[in-house]
C-alpha cells in the first residue's frame, strides 16, 4: 500500500489504463469505445512523463543562464510523448471519420445493433 502511495503517478496511470481498457472492451457505443481508447493512450502518456520527471528540477527550456545537466528534468520521455500524442490524435480522427461513415450506412453507432443489421 505504501509503495502505491509513493509511486502515485504510476498507480494513477495504471488505474486509468484499466478504465480505458474496460471502456474500450465492454461498451457498445462506438464513441464511448473511442473515448476509452483515448483514456488508455493518455494514461500511457502520464506514465511515461512521470518517468522523466525529477522532483525539484525545471522544464528543459533554457531561460537566462544555463544551469547544467543537473538543473533540468529528463526531456526524452516528453519528446517521445509529443510523437505519441500526434499518433493518438490521428488514429482518433480516423476512427471518428469511420464512425460517421458507419452512422451513414447503418443509422446507428451501437455495435450490437450494427452486428444484428449487418449480420451475415
Amino acid at each position: 500500500m505504501e509503495r502505491l502511495i509513493t509511486n502515485y503517478y504510476e498507480t494513477a496511470s495504471i488505474i486509468l489504463f484499466g478504465i480505458g481498457f474496460m471502456t474500450l472492451l465492454i461498451h457498445n457505443n462506438l464513441i464511448k469505445k473511442i473515448i476509452g481508447m483515448n483514456i488508455m493512450d493518455t494514461s500511457i502518456f502520464l506514465f511515461f512523463i512521470a518517468k522523466g520527471y525529477i522532483s525539484g528540477k525545471e522544464a528543459p527550456i533554457i531561460k537566462g543562464a544555463y544551469k547544467g545537466v543537473e538543473g533540468y528534468i529528463n526531456p526524452v520521455p516528453t519528446a517521445l510523448m509529443l510523437t505519441g500524442i500526434v499518433v493518438a490524435v490521428s488514429v482518433t480522427a480516423f476512427a471518428l471519420a469511420l464512425t460517421i461513415k458507419v452512422y451513414d450506412k447503418y443509422g446507428t453507432i451501437e455495435l450490437n445493433e450494427i452486428l444484428e443489421k449487418g449480420g451475415d
Binding site: 481508447m37 499518433v87 488514429v91
Partner: protein, 492 residues
C-alpha cells in the same frame, strides 16, 4: 562506408515520397505504373542490400549521423535483408495483379488513394523490419495500422466500414499495449535502442524480474492482436473477407508478418533468448499457437464463403508461426521464419486467385464452384499449387515448412505436439481438397461446362503464375534459404 549501406533508408524514402505523389497524378494508368516501378526499384535496392550484407556482414545505419543511444539506428542483417526482399517482391507482384482487378472493386476516384495507401503500408512495414529503435518501431506500427485499415475501407461498402473500424479499434488497443511495454522497459533501462536495452537488461534482470515479465507479456499480447494470434484474431476474418482481393493478399501475406518479425527481434535482440526462456511467456505462446492451428482449420471447414475460408486458414497458419516460436528452441524460430516466407507466397497467390474466381463467376460461395477447373484451368492450376502447399504435400513449399516444424518439435522434446501438427494438416486437407475435386471431377460437376470459357488472358494471370512457380521452386530446393535463415537467426 559502402554506398549500399544507404539503401535501406533510400527504400523507405522512395516508397514514402512516391506514395504521396500518387494523389496528384490524374491518369490512373500512370499511377499504377509509377507505383509498380517504385516497388520494383525497392526490390532491386533490397537485393543489393542483401548482397552487401552477405559480403560485409550486419551493418548499422545512423539516421542523421547521430550516434547510437541518442539517434535512431537502422540495423540490417540477414533476417532484415531477406525479409526486405520478400516484402518488396510480393508487394510488387500484388500491385501488378491489382492492375487488372482494382477497377472492379474500388471506385475510380479512389484508385490513386489506394496506391498511396499501398506505398505507405509497405514503407511502414519495412520500417518495422529495419529499425533498431523500439519507439521508432512503435511509430511505424501506428502508421501501418492506419494504412492497413485504409486499404480495407477503400471499397466503401457497408461491411468494409464495419470491418475496418473493428480492425482499427483492436489494432490501436494492440499498439497501446506495445507502448505500455516500452514504458516499462524504458523505466528500468533508460534506453530505447534495442542493443543498449539488452546490455542494461543483462545487468538488471534479477532486480526487475516481474517488470520484465509484464513488459514481455504486453509486447506479446500487443503484437499478438496485430498479427492475429489465436484468441485475439477476431478482427481478421471480417477484414480479409470484405477487403478488395489485392488488399486481402497484402494484409495476409505481409502485414501480419511484419509484427511477427518485430516479435522475433524483441525476443532475440532486445531481451536475448536466455532471459526469455527464463520466463513462462513462450510456453503460453506455444499453447495459443497450437490452439490457433486447430481452431482456425475447424472454422475454415465451416465457412461457405471462399475468401472467408482462406481468411480462417490464415488464422491457422499464423498459429503455426507462433507455435514454432513457442517451442523456444533455435530450430523452432528457423521453422517459424521459413513458414513466414512460405505462407506469404502461398496465401498471396490464394487470395489473388480467389479474387479472380469471384470476379469471373460472380459468386462467393464455395458450393457454386462446381466444374470451375474446366472453365478456368490455369487459374485453378495456381489454386492447386497453393492448396497443396497449405496441406503440406511434398514438392510444394508448405511441406518444407511442416518438415522443419516437425524437426523443431523433435529437437525440443515436446513430442506430443506432433499430433497437433498432423491433425492440423489433415484438417487443412478437409477444406482445400473438396474445392479441387469439385472443380475437376464428377459427372454432374463438369456437365455443360465449356473448356476455358471463363479464363482470363495469360498476361493477367502472370503474377499468380510467378507466385506458383516460386511455391514449387522453393518446395524443391529449400536448402539454400534454410541455411540463410539459420545464419540470420544466429546473427540477431
Amino acid at each position: 562506408m559502402a554506398v549500399e549501406a544507404n539503401f535501406p533508408l533510400l527504400i523507405l524514402l522512395i516508397l514514402l515520397i512516391s506514395a504521396f505523389m500518387m494523389p496528384v497524378i490524374k491518369n490512373i494508368r500512370t499511377v499504377k505504373l509509377f507505383s509498380l516501378s517504385a516497388m520494383l526499384l525497392s526490390l532491386v535496392l533490397s537485393v543489393f542490400t542483401f548482397k552487401h550484407v552477405s559480403r560485409a556482414g550486419t551493418f548499422v545505419y545512423k539516421v542523421g549521423h547521430f550516434a547510437a543511444p541518442w539517434g535512431i539506428e537502422l540495423k540490417i542483417g540477414y533476417l532484415e535483408s531477406i525479409m526486405s526482399i520478400m516484402f518488396t517482391f510480393i508487394a510488387a507482384l500484388i500491385i501488378w495483379a491489382s492492375f487488372y482487378s482494382i477497377e472492379h472493386e474500388v471506385k475510380e476516384k479512389n484508385i490513386g488513394l489506394y496506391y498511396t495507401l499501398c506505398g505507405l503500408l509497405i514503407a511502414s512495414l519495412l520500417g518495422i523490419v529495419y529499425s533498431n529503435d523500439i519507439f521508432n518501431c512503435f511509430v511505424f506500427i501506428e502508421i501501418s495500422s492506419i494504412a492497413a485499415s485504409g486499404i480495407v475501407v477503400v471499397k466503401d461498402n457497408k461491411e468494409n466500414i464495419k470491418a475496418a473500424l473493428k480492425y482499427l479499434i483492436l489494432s490501436s488497443l494492440g499498439s497501446g499495449l506495445v507502448l505500455m511495454g516500452i514504458a516499462f522497459l524504458y523505466s528500468v533501462t533508460g534506453n530505447l535502442n534495442m542493443d543498449y536495452i539488452h546490455q542494461e537488461l543483462v545487468n538488471v534482470k534479477d532486480l526487475y524480474h516481474n517488470t520484465l515479465i509484464i513488459s514481455l507479456g504486453l509486447f506479446t499480447v500487443g503484437l499478438g492482436v496485430k498479427s492475429a494470434m489465436f484468441p485475439v484474431h477476431i478482427w481478421l476474418p471480417d477484414a480479409h473477407t470484405y477487403a478488395p482481393s489485392s488488399s486481402s493478399a497484402m494484409l495476409s501475406a505481409l502485414v501480419l508478418k511484419a509484427y511477427i518479425i518485430l516479435f522475433i527481434k524483441i525476443v532475440f535482440r532486445l531481451y536475448g533468448i536466455d532471459i526469455v526462456n527464463s520466463m513462462p511467456v513462450l510456453d503460453i505462446v506455444l499453447v495459443t499457437g497450437a490452439a490457433g492451428m486447430i481452431y482456425g482449420s475447424i472454422m475454415a471447414i465451416l465457412q461457405k464463403d471462399l475468401k472467408r475460408m482462406i481468411a480462417y486458414s490464415s488464422v491457422a497458419q499464423i498459429g503455426y508461426i507462433f507455435f514454432g516460436m513457442g517451442l523456444g528452441n533455435f530450430l523452432g524460430f528457423v521453422a517459424a521464419v521459413f513458414h513466414i516466407i512460405s505462407h506469404a507466397l502461398t496465401k498471396s497467390a490464394l487470395f489473388l486467385i480467389a479474387g479472380n474466381i469471384i470476379h469471373q463467376t460472380h459468386s462467393k460461395e464455395i458450393g457454386s464452384l462446381k466444374g470451375i477447373g474446366i472453365e478456368m484451368p490455369v487459374t485453378m492450376g495456381v489454386f492447386i499449387a497453393g492448396a497443396l502447399s497449405m496441406v503440406g504435400i511434398p514438392l510444394f513449399i508448405g511441406f518444407n515448412s511442416k518438415w522443419n516444424f516437425a524437426l523443431a518439435i523433435i529437437d525440443s522434446n515436446k513430442i506430443l505436439f506432433i499430433a497437433v501438427l498432423v491433425a492440423s494438416s489433415v484438417l487443412n486437407a478437409v477444406y482445400y481438397l473438396p474445392i479441387i475435386i469439385n472443380g475437376f471431377f464428377g459427372e454432374e460437376n463438369i456437365k455443360d461446362k465449356v473448356f476455358r470459357s471463363k479464363e482470363k488472358p495469360v498476361q493477367v494471370l502472370l503474377p499468380e503464375l510467378i507466385l506458383a512457380f516460386a511455391i514449387v521452386y522453393f518446395g524443391i530446393s529449400s536448402k539454400g534459404i534454410i541455411d540463410l535463415i539459420t545464419k540470420s537467426i544466429a546473427g540477431l
